[in-house]
Amino acid sequence: MQSSLERLQADFATALRDAALPPALAQALVGSDAQLAARLRLYRGNVFAAWRHALALAYPVLQALVGSDCFDTLAERYGRVHPSRDGDLNCFGAAFAAFVAGDAATAKLPYLSDVAALEWLVHRAQRAADAPMLPRERLVALSPGELLAARFPLHPACAWLASAHPVCSIWTAHQTHSTIELSRVAPRAECALVTRRRWRVTVTPITRGDVLALDALRAGADMDATISAALHGDRGFEFAKAFLRWIECGVFAAADAPPAR
């Protein structure tokens, strides 16, 4: 059987979601219906403001692209379909990219969803576990045979995605001191690598072959199988260039790094 406390919280939750004031809740609270409606509106406003603020922190580029008003509307609708499930608001917004893809207001701009997906990877990288990078000296010391047989753990902050849209360029154009102008970004497919060196998260354009290779690395492949996977899907894959890029960006964690907490 439902306790009265349980019933009260269920009614309060209903009042926060919908504009309606359940009669049982009105009876349980001090004040006229009009007064209570105003006070619950205040709570509802606080809840949605907190959610909107959390989304704005995680998706600044999306907000800049669609404008504040449209973003606020999107955030409100998102909160209704995918309400927060965590007391830590940094976890709120994981499904925003998928939601943006399906929303009538934004579905006609298909790149928005992929930009959102990239921003979520950046957001997660910011709070990912710290781990030392795989030192370059360790790699140069390897013979080709040793390198092919090697398995390097990925850094906890490392993530990537492939898009049919220029997500990397769009994201970069919104960063301060960017040399890319948004109006000059050409429509094309782009793949993006997200890494964090010390505290700074960077987004780097990568090739389709990089994505295939990184997928293989994540699945635990050795370097031999990784290169094969990349070449299989991308005949132009240049391992030497890609490997250098991975090391520069901080894709790998030192093998003896402490495990993520």
Binding site: V30, S84, R85, G87, D88, R127, D130
Partner: protein
Amino acid sequence: MSTNSASAAPRHAAPQTLGVGIGLRASHYAALSMPGCRVDWLEAHSENYFGPGGYDLHVLCALREHHPISLHGVGLGLGSVHGYSEAHVARLAALVRRIDPVLVSEHLSWGAGAHTTFNELLPLPLTHAALHLVGERVERLQDALKRRVLIENIAQYVRYRDEDYDEPAFLNALAARSGCGILLDLNNLYVNQCNLGTPAAAAVDAIDARHVGEIHLAGHRRVDGLAIDDHGAAVDDAVWDLYAQALRRFGPVPTLIEWDNDLPPLDTLLAEAARARLCIERIEADAILA
């Protein structure tokens, strides 16, 4: 040796002589790291540091080398019948192990339903059932953290008709039952007096002095005749009066200047902290003369 290990922490003063702290906010990280920046202690919102790594946690670990840290939770929802998260408790416990704070606190509130977390401090009806639920949760929380926690009174905009306790009596009973302390937010008492008519000065008088472990001071704003607890202004004169009353009753309890919205430069917060410190010194001087 890792600079983040708990064993490297300086021996901090006993909580009762901590003095006046300020809330730790990201836009003050640099100013707080300047040499000569004097602040007695810092209070961080626990959830902002729940991630396993990254810059914010790095800064908190660096600051804890030189400042006593208090961890103040805003997201646990101790009174939520549904949606109470043991995973949240585990993340807090991990952070407490890492930071070794001088104080840990949460709110007397609920915040989640079966399928939604509202991320808001919602008011509980102060009934026997609520005391039972929150009392058990606090006991389990203290077991998980292996330390006493402080529970804070909230600002609320609605009040329940049928309650078994008023707020001071509920907090006293909760503290007596679970062994927790009370974090008394004087601005919240005042805001509730303005909006709900619950007398603030009487509440200060009714709180059991033995349980009070911290005081919060903050500002509020007025909107359409309502006092809104937005932590976006200087401490109100009426709240300073309550503070003098509280210090006379409770002694020099660790005090926090809380500011979240329209955050001013650090110096403004330090000036508010200095004013609070002056109040403490005045009360201590009075005590010696008496």
